[in-house]
């Protein structure tokens, strides 16, 4: 199994963190993984994306040309990446910020009101965790508990309150697709 994933949204939504968490959790589960961010001059509110590959075997190229899965957090990212998804692949998108339908009919679509659900746990900043929870539960790529463990590593030093909000956002994201 090889899954090519692209996370995309605007700067400040924690897009890179989403990718790092997937890659870290994949490593913990003894899978092969690569993470590659769009890099360079970036600003809060601008666009951000990263590619992650999770595989049972060695990964040759870290580049993702035709993702199996896209996790889309804002409208411009859906416009940009909807056409790139592999036929039969998955589009998870944030309906809190995107009010259009996916146009393609050869892909699976999962609608997640990520910001709304995150606000229920206390902060819309955890919208990325809602999306991650939904993704991992729906596709089973990674165990939710592993992702939460990776959260402890990647957000090391944050307060208990912040950590618990993020974990709860992940749980609620998972619950949306159960």
């Amino acid at each position: 199994m090889t899954q090519r994933i692209r996370c995309a949204g605007f700067g400040g939504q924690g897009i890179v963190l989403m990718g790092r968490l997937i890659a870290h959790a994949a490593m913990v589960e003894d899978k092969h993984t690569t993470f590659f961010p769009q890099y360079g001059a970036a600003m809060r509110g601008g666009t951000a994306n990263c590619s992650v590959i999770v595989s049972d075997g060695a990964i040759a190229s870290p580049m993702v040309e035709e993702p199996d899965v896209v996790l889309i957090m804002n409208g411009p990212s859906l416009d940009k990446f909807e056409p790139t998804v592999k036929p039969g692949g998955w589009i998870f998108y944030n309906t809190s910020l995107i009010d259009r339908e996916v146009e393609r009919n050869d892909v699976n679509v999962v609608k997640i009101a990520a910001n709304d659900v995150a606000e229920e746990v206390g902060t819309s900043r955890a919208a990325n965790m809602v999306m991650l929870g939904a993704f991992s539960k729906k596709l089973g790529t990674l165990d939710l508990d592993t992702l939460m463990g990776s959260l402890d590593v990647q957000l090391y030093g944050k307060g208990d309150n912040v950590m618990e909000m993020n974990r709860e956002a992940m749980r609620r994201g998972a619950a949306l697709v159960e």
Binding site: R20, A23, M27, Y39, P62
Partner: protein, 368 residues
């Protein structure tokens, strides 16, 4: 050693950071650098880690200053390094040439970005000529690694420091924006020096009042003196070629066509090879690991039975020249080249492989 660094374990790290940790483990005593994308995480990592270890970190006023600080560190026998990206590495060339001439060790890293000029911040391999031909003025060479993953960035950083000391010569890594920025798991191996490191550092300045006194210079004005030094350096380079040429061959035994690629391009080539073989195209991969010394002889031998090679590189035919030199006309050498942020695409390489297999004698397939 910092307790936070889990030596011996598998961790997820950025390429740039892995280079930094390897340097710390290999006993780098001083880091001198000036920021530039896409190698900034390396400088940032060292600004924290070197201080944790009680070592020297200096953000210099310029790239030229940084390499000359390395010159200074080398003269007192300390391991030091610098890093930059393409335009910054150009600025360092004067200092590297001086150190090559004075036979001083230094390890440096070029996280290649688009050029020429100020270029852009995208990945490229277009500093290949600069890395493999010395880079600055004069008849000299630097040991240059072309790693293809984060583990190799780590491993060859350690080896780079050792080989620089062993041969009293600059050694470098030529990476690119993708390798620098990507994260993947690697094992933080403990540093084990190569067995034949010089036990003391004969290039280290001694007390001027003793027989240890030493004059380090790259200026030799007496008649014949500079030419003599050059011949001596060439002899050393021949030893390096003999001992340190590294490469990897994958599935070349039954190959009808072999892709020659290093670094990031070789990862893409490996994907291509796997996909093409599923389609029944017998593709092999030849991957130079050191780009200087270059594996000319193994490529030449390969050309006895493989008559078509496709060079895949993120520069416009720079390594293509070396492969053509290597095969001495025994094979046709085709080219798939992108640069300055243009990254080779699998489907396009496979398209060119099919063109290569359908091509006639004397025909060379090129994508531009």
């Amino acid at each position: 050693m910092s307790e936070k660094i889990p030596i011996g374990e598998k961790v997820l790290m950025k390429g740039n950071e892995a280079i930094g940790e390897a340097a710390v483990q290999a006993g780098c005593r001083a880091f001198f650098g000036y920021p530039i994308t896409p190698q900034n995480e390396l400088t940032a990592y060292m600004s924290k880690r070197m201080l944790e270890e009680g070592r020297v970190f200096i953000q210099s006023e310029s790239e030229i200053a940084a390499i000359n600080m390395c010159f200074g560190a080398a003269t007192v026998g300390e391991r030091s390094m610098t890093s930059s990206s393409s335009p910054g590495i150009s600025l360092k060339q004067e200092g590297i040439s001086y150190m090559a001439s004075a036979e001083l060790p230094v390890f440096y890293v070029n996280v290649n970005r688009g050029g020429p000029g100020l270029g852009n911040i995208s990945p490229a391999q277009s500093d290949y000529f600069q890395a493999t031909r010395g880079g600055g003025h004069g008849d000299y060479r630097v040991i240059a690694f072309g790693p293809s993953d984060v583990q190799e960035l780590y491993d060859f950083t350690m080896l780079g420091f050792d080989l620089a000391d062993k041969y009293r010569n600059p050694a470098m890594i030529l990476a690119d924006g993708i390798l620098g920025q990507m994260m993947e798991p690697l094992v933080l191996k403990p540093y084990e020096p190569i067995p034949d490191l010089p036990s003391k550092q004969p290039w280290r300045l001694g007390d001027p009042s003793t027989p240890d006194a030493l004059l380090i210079t790259s200026l030799i004005l007496n008649p014949g003196g500079m030419e003599e030094r050059n011949f001596m350096l060439q002899k050393k380079y021949e030893t390096i070629i003999e001992n340190e040429t590294r490469y990897e061959e994958v599935m070349t035994d039954d190959a009808d066509v072999v892709i020659v690629a290093y670094g990031t391009a070789s990862r893409i080539a490996r994907s291509v090879m796997e996909t093409a073989r599923e389609e029944g195209i017998k593709v092999g991969l030849f991957r130079p690991i050191t780009i200087w010394p270059y594996p000319y002889d193994p490529l030449n031998k390969l050309a006895d039975r493989v008559k078509n090679m496709l060079v895949v590189e993120m520069s416009l035919g720079q390594m293509w020249e070396d492969v053509r030199l290597a095969v001495e006309g025994k094979a046709r050498v085709h080219l798939h080249a992108r640069t300055a942020g243009g990254v080779p695409v699998q489907t396009e390489i496979i398209r060119d492989l099919k063109k290569v297999l359908a091509s006639k004698d004397g025909e060379i397939v090129r994508n531009f």
